[in-house]
Amino acid sequence: MTPKGRHAAGWWALIIPALLLMTAFYIAPILQVLAISVTEPQPGLGNYERLFTSESVQRVIGTTLRIGVITTAIALLLGYVLAYRIAMSGPKAQRWWLLAVLVPLWISVLVRAFAWVTLLRRQGLVNQGLLATGVIDQPLALVWNELGIVIGMVHYMVPYAVLPMLSSMREIDPRVLTAARGLGAGRIRTFLRVFLPLSLPGLIAAGVLVFIFSLGFYITPALLGGGKTLMVAEWIKLQILDLIRWGLGAMMATVLVVAILATLAVLSRLVNLRRLFGAGS
């Protein structure tokens, strides 16, 4: 009973304002980036050639992919463990566990980076504590390097990993697990042969989400990397705001979007993408 023809006009009128604003102030600027990448400094694909010729461009991409993969792997592991624990608790306990996931999710990424700096820097609380107890005699380099970036990024990503996995675990019928145990499968076998395969869609969805978020991540790497380890987003900012190399920055920004949309397109065949964005709320 969806309205057709003239009955639909009124409903379209509700959609149009958002669509116009989105087109004028979101799609247009994004397309502008694409345009800049093929017109500056000269028209052509010169900027994209750098992907194959410039060592610094390749190094940035390599670093980004490496950190992205490491972050995704750790976040998935911790997230899975946490989601499993949440899925197995009673409704009341579940609320508290969930709160412990949701609160960090919505706390300013800046505040979190600041907290990590406070803890991890040379004169930070961790080093002070370890020095005072005599575990170490030299402060450890915990931040302003790749380690710091990974610590901060995993911290940001774990909640995003938990939510899709939790929603897919909740769809698993608990009677299936009881049945597996009843049929003689041990605790570990039941998990590996029954639970894990059933929760796989959520695991894949979470992996995609975390990976594409880490590719374009700016604030945490910039603050916890200390300018020494460059990831794509910070590199783009450097090209544009500090070096005024618009073409190169826009090229990388375009590559980033294309890479993310391509990942999503490939994985949309594997998992239902609604799971990603239905669970975020």
Binding site: M1, K4, G5, R6, H7
Partner: protein, 368 residues
């Protein structure tokens, strides 16, 4: 009928297709002012689609909808002024009973005093005046149904449309509300159009029934006409139960005679010849006592029987006509039934009716 005038509705060759799927095919229907018409059919027969086209929620692919002769096919639902009781009632859960009933008046911007008076009158009509301040979730199913009725009637609609209004209720309550609905129709004197798949409900409520199957309007008529003179095999089978006897017919003095194997069955009605299908209701067949006779007599043995409270249901195996179902009140059964017992079945000449096979197309003109 009451003095308040209802409105007449007519559908002219209306069809609805969704891509290749035909929901309603070429349906024409006249609903006279003040009438209670029921659209009856199994699920998927197109009855709800027809109601939705009358209400304006679904646009016909072809054909016209007329109200008192005025074409309203293109009119959106909010401008048709029809009252509607939805399946499951669709009461607004965030409003009280009174607010629900006031809704149609509020959208028509009636003054406060007039609104309150009409709401009170409508709630009186359905005997719910004491529940005005309750929320729908605090009411029983039957009460909710009555709120839906009050809400649909409060603004004096041209028509009242009912989409399976009783289907959500249990059997006993349904019978009770059928009575109420019928009384309400008599009191308000408006045109009611009802959709149901329940044949008993259709028979007891309606002035007229329109029977649908697979998107085709098969027959329209008064309940008695449809029951006694079904036009097709589907109608005979869907409204009540029926035996079907197929054979070669030829005209005789009182109507026609149908031959099947060694058996002859005489029937009244227009003389006819050739392949013919007869419908014979189980309750029109008698078990003949020793020596008695009838227009038609067939011998057979009881294949199975059961006691159903109002009487006995027998299946009698006959050599020529196959299994025949018989339904008899207990006092009219001359023997005590037992499997294998030989019996003689008899029925009057006018008990059987010739019906058409369902070709998947409407019978021209129906029998109405």
């Amino acid at each position: 009928m009451s003095a308040v005038a209802g409105h007449a509705l007519s559908l002219q060759r209306v069809s609805k297709r969704y891509g290749d799927f035909v929901a309603v095919q070429d349906a024409s229907l006249e609903v006279a002012s003040g009438q209670f018409l029921t659209l009856l059919g199994p699920s998927g027969s197109g009855k709800t689609t027809i109601l939705m086209m009358i209400a304006g929620f679904v646009e016909p692919t072809e054909g016209r909808v007329l109200l008192d002769g005025r074409d309203i096919t293109a009119l959106p639902p909010e401008r048709r002024d029809f009252g509607m009781v939805f399946q499951g009632y669709a009461l607004f859960p965030h409003m009280t009973v009174a607010e629900n009933v006031a809704f149609p008046l509020r959208v028509r911007k009636l003054g406060r005093a007039e609104r309150d008076a009409k709401v009170r009158a409508a709630l009186d009509l359905v005997q719910l005046d004491r529940f005005a301040e309750r929320k729908p979730s605090q009411l029983s199913g039957g009460q909710q149904q009555r709120v839906a009725l009050a809400r649909a009637l409060v603004f004096d609609p041209a028509l009242l449309l009912l989409d399976e209004p009783l289907s959500a209720l249990d059997k006993k309550l349904r019978a009770e509300l059928q009575e109420e609905l019928k009384a309400l129709h008599r009191r308000v004197g408006r045109t009611f159009i009802n959709v149901t798949h329940d044949q008993e409900e259709a028979l007891s409520l309606s002035d007229e029934i329109a029977i649908l199957n697979h998107g085709h309007l098969i027959q329209v008529g008064a309940p008695e006409t449809l029951y006694e003179r079904p036009a097709t095999r589907f109608v005979a089978d869907f409204l009540g139960k029926s035996n079907f006897i197929e054979g070669e017919a030829e005209a005789d003095a009182g109507g026609f005679v149908l031959r099947r194997g060694a058996a002859r069955v005489v029937a009244s009605g227009a003389p006819r010849a050739g392949r013919t299908l007869l419908s014979l209701r189980p309750e029109k067949i008698a078990l003949l006592p020793e020596g008695a006779t009838e227009d038609n007599v067939v011998e057979g043995r009881i294949a199975s029987w059961s006691y159903v409270g109002t009487g006995y249901a027998l299946t009698v195996m006959t050599p020529d006509l196959g299994n025949i179902r018989v339904h008899l009140p207990a006092w009219r059964i001359p023997v005590s039934p037992a499997e294998g017992l030989p019996v003689r079945l008899g029925w009057a000449r006018d008990a059987a009716v010739a019906v058409a096979e369902d070709p998947g197309s409407p019978v021209p003109g129906g029998v109405a």
